[in-house]
């Protein structure tokens, strides 16, 4: 699962605003496949971590009730030129991460 994350970070007066989009089906495990009538197995992102340099600035635990192809935005203190890394892990053990330079 390469390049499942799009992340942008912008600094303004010492506060970095991060916006990220991830590609993920986010299946709750409660939906039925209309054709086969079988339940679609749960497949969703469970943990999201954001780091600015070496410092964790935001970490989250998610359930299946986050929308498909999740969007998340948050703020942290930082400056232009810092590098921000966002990583996720889903309930099947898949993971991905992306790094963006703060603009």
């Amino acid at each position: 699962m390469a390049k499942s994350i799009k992340v942008r970070a912008k600094a303004k007066q010492g506060i970095v605003t991060v916006k990220a989009l991830m590609n993920h089906p986010m299946e709750t495990g409660l939906r039925k496949d209309k054709k086969t009538g079988k339940m679609i197995p749960a497949h969703f992102i469970q943990e999201v971590t954001a780091k600015l340099g070496d410092n964790t600035v935001m970490s989250a635990v998610w359930g299946g009730a986050i929308s498909k192809n999740p969007y998340v935005s948050f703020k942290c203190s930082g400056a232009k030129g810092d590098s921000l890394t966002l990583a996720w892990v889903d309930n099947k053990g898949n993971s991905d991460s992306a790094t963006a330079k703060v603009k």
Binding site: E47, V57, V61, I66, Y71, K75, S77, V89
Partner: protein
């Protein structure tokens, strides 16, 4: 966190914890065990207890929830939470009408209290934002009317 909730949590998150310790998580990340039970809890108090260690909270006007009054599509409900409270440790989002109310919980690590994301809502209900600040829980809610549910088939 007291010892009891720690024990409860570590038991509940056992399966996920095994997966995590088996090296499936990216190296260098320090993550708390995933609170599996909290995400399967059927009521908000139980869910909160599982994720932030307590089920009781005070109402606060210092937490602002930006969400639509009417969501046409329950599978994509944009929610933005900001808080003027100081020393915010975590922000949890719950949708009380959902089968399992807990949507997500964000730990802030000293970052400003601002979170924006999109959630699924099965039917009309309240979006509950629970902020942990100074070891106490504060909450605010906003009703969102859903015309098409987001959890059905």
């Amino acid at each position: 966190m007291n010892r009891r909730t720690l024990l409860k949590r570590s038991l509940a998150a056992g399966a996920v914890g095994v997966a995590a310790s088996a090296g499936l998580l990216a190296p260098g990340q320090v993550l708390a065990a995933y609170p599996n039970a909290a995400f399967h809890a059927k009521d908000t108090a139980e869910a909160l207890n599982g994720v932030v260690g307590s089920g009781s909270f005070e109402h606060s006007d210092d937490i602002k929830i930006k969400a639509p009054d009417i969501a046409e599509n329950g599978s994509v409900v944009p929610v933005t939470i900001t808080s003027g409270l100081s020393g915010v440790e975590s922000i949890s989002i719950l949708a009380d009408a959902n089968n399992s109310p807990l949507v997500a919980s964000f730990t802030m690590h000293g970052s400003p209290a601002f979170i924006s994301t999109r959630i699924k809502m099965g039917k009309t209900g309240n979006v509950l934002a629970v902020v942990k600040s100074g070891g106490k829980l504060f909450a605010s809610k906003k009703e969102v009317k859903v015309t098409i549910g987001g959890c059905g088939g």
